[in-house]
């Protein structure tokens, strides 16, 4: 691949993420059932299915920022929920950073993920360490920033971000939840990996896999 993702590659990447999210829904359902209400699997399936169906239309917009933002809103419209509205917020904020662009470089992605992280913090009022999706997003952002500063390629950087997100998600198993349904559980939820963080890692992994196969 060249040094940037094109509009159509972004659309294809979203489709790839959608497929992967749907294929892994059951795992997320199980995690959410353990500490919450078990709907995250359905949320991912329904939300990403809606995005998948909307993609051809969204692509018409000719704007990576708009694709992202509208994909986020589409997701939450079909599968509103804690995760849905936070993902929508993240994608809308990321989209705002990429507004008007037909190509996205690694630097663009860093800025987008920064904005996304900030958006989730603002909407959800949680912080890193509170056993939420932030605990996958924050390490992913750090990895992406480091890769960028080292001049690594976009696929390499995304692979490292995905790995960092996975590691972050795995570590949530030791954290005490303070937000969302799991917070009501207190100590009893401590041993379970956070489903939202797991979902973020999953989506980033799909994105990285997609970019790795681009030539």
């Amino acid at each position: 691949m060249s040094k940037a993702l094109t509009l159509s590659q972004v659309a294809k990447a979203l489709a790839y993420v959608a497929q992967s999210a749907m294929a892994n829904a059951e795992k997320l359902r199980e995690l959410d059932a353990a500490t919450g209400d078990g709907d995250l699997g359905v949320t991912m399936t329904v939300g990403w299915k809606a995005v998948l169906e909307a993609l051809p239309q969204l692509e018409q917009q000719g704007d990576i920022g708009k694709i992202l933002a509208q994909a986020g809103m589409t997701f939450n419209r079909a599968a509103a929920s804690t995760f849905g509205v936070l993902l929508a917020t993240a994608m809308m904020r990321a989209g705002r950073q990429l507004q008007g662009k037909a190509e996205a470089t690694l630097e663009d992605l860093v800025r987008a993920l920064e904005a996304a992280l900030q958006g989730v913090k603002e909407r959800g009022k949680a912080d890193v360490g509170d056993k939420t999706m932030l605990d996958a997003m924050a390490p992913a952002l750090a990895a992406l920033q480091e890769a960028a500063s080292k001049g690594q390629s976009l696929p390499e950087a995304l692979a490292q971000a995905a790995a960092a997100a996975e590691e972050g998600a795995a570590k949530t198993a030791g954290l005490k939840p303070r937000f969302g349904r799991a917070a009501w559980l207190g100590e009893r939820a401590a041993q379970v990996q956070d489903p939202g963080a797991t979902a973020v890692a999953l989506m980033l992994r799909a994105l990285a896999d997609f970019c790795a196969q681009l030539d």
């Binding site: 919450g36 209400d37 078990g38 939450n76 509103a80 917070a183």
Partner: protein
């Protein structure tokens, strides 16, 4: 998964279709969203409007509490998931009668974030929105953090009170105060005996042993206080009331309304066995029992279990609780104020 359904992914939409076919004289769709239902006569001009909503699977929560003397509109999410802001905005626009809109719903983070988004959108359209959250479940956070608690069946009291206050013609601030007062003076605790299955998920939300129960479990199967061997109705009721009474705290001489709620699969008979003991405990404690409600006021699909909610009354809350209200989802109630004791 044993359910009388068609496509699990069409479940919520088919439920709403069934309801609109059954009660077209009572409910209609708001323009712009098929998950937004409002009173057939909405908007009611000159009245503060009340919007509610949340995940599906809890009938009569939430849509059963739309009607005269109750809420004006409701927004329905997927099973156990928040509705999206677009649907809530559609409700808001359809019910606004020119005196502002109260968003009254349960304290669940998904709902809060989505409704906050909707409120921002509504304000941009020039509609004044205020929010009050029900947070009655005593076990879901310590007393000092009561505002972090989730809502269960006690939300009924907030609907009833706010709906009556709005029906009296009061302004938005007064309706907000009334709703908040009802919410702040309600305490609930639940117990679950068996799980339920989100249709689209296809598997039970949790598992529980044949001889176990979960004290304090939430209405989506959120874990509670502790999992123990199944206790007797009298023991369960005693544990619940001890926790509830000491939390507000209620005091001897207080006048209360009490709601014994079934989660779905628990028969009404068992709710009355619980009430039998609750009544005894409340009288021993010196409470005056003004109103007793027993039945399904907030369900969790086919979950087995029950909850008890107490509302501490004052003269106004009593009047609003006793005011007439109508919804075909509501059990008939006595609306005069004769005391039960």
């Amino acid at each position: 998964m044993k359910k009388i359904i068609n496509d699990p992914f069409q479940f919520v939409d088919e439920v709403l279709e069934g309801i609109l076919r059954a009660y077209p004289w009572h409910l209609k769709r708001a323009e712009g969203s098929n998950r937004a239902l409002v009173r057939a006569d909405a908007p009611v001009r000159g009245k503060v409007a009340i919007a509610t909503g949340g995940g599906a699977g809890h009938i009569p929560v939430f849509l059963g509490y739309v009607g005269p003397g109750l809420c004006d509109g409701v927004c329905v999410g997927n099973v156990f998931s928040s509705p999206p802001p677009e649907a809530m905005l559609a409700v808001t626009k359809a019910i606004d009668g020119g005196r502002g809109v109260l968003y009254l719903y349960g304290n669940y983070s998904g709902d809060v974030m989505n409704f906050d988004m909707a409120a921002e959108m509504a304000e941009m359209e020039g509609i004044t929105v205020r929010t009050v959250l029900a947070h009655d479940d005593v076990v879901s956070a310590p007393r000092e953090e009561a505002n972090r608690r989730r809502a269960v069946a006690g939300i009924y009291f907030a609907y009833k009170v706010a709906g009556a206050c709005a029906a009296e013609g009061n302004d938005l601030e007064a309706v907000v105060q009334a709703a908040q007062r009802a919410a702040d003076n309600t305490r609930s605790m639940g117990v679950a005996l068996s799980p339920c299955t989100v249709p689209a998920a296809g598997k039970p939300t949790f598992t529980i042993g044949e001889d176990e129960m979960e004290l304090g479990m939430g209405i989506h199967g959120e874990p509670g206080l502790e999992r123990t061997k199944l206790k007797s109705a009298d023991e369960i009721t005693t544990i619940m009331l001890e926790r509830i009474l000491s939390d507000l705290p209620f005091r001897a001489g207080d006048e209360v309304a009490v709601l014994v709620n079934g989660l779905g699969a628990t028969p009404p008979e068992e709710l009355f066995v619980m009430y039998r003991k609750a009544h005894e405990i409340m009288l021993d404690y010196g409470l005056r029992i003004h109103k007793v409600l027993v039945g399904e006021y907030a369900t969790s699909l086919e979950m087995a279990g029950a909850s008890i909610s107490l509302l501490k009354l004052d003269d106004e809350l009593r009047r609003w609780l006793d005011a007439p209200a109508f919804s075909p989802f509501l059990l008939q109630q006595r609306f005069n104020t004769q005391s039960v004791r």
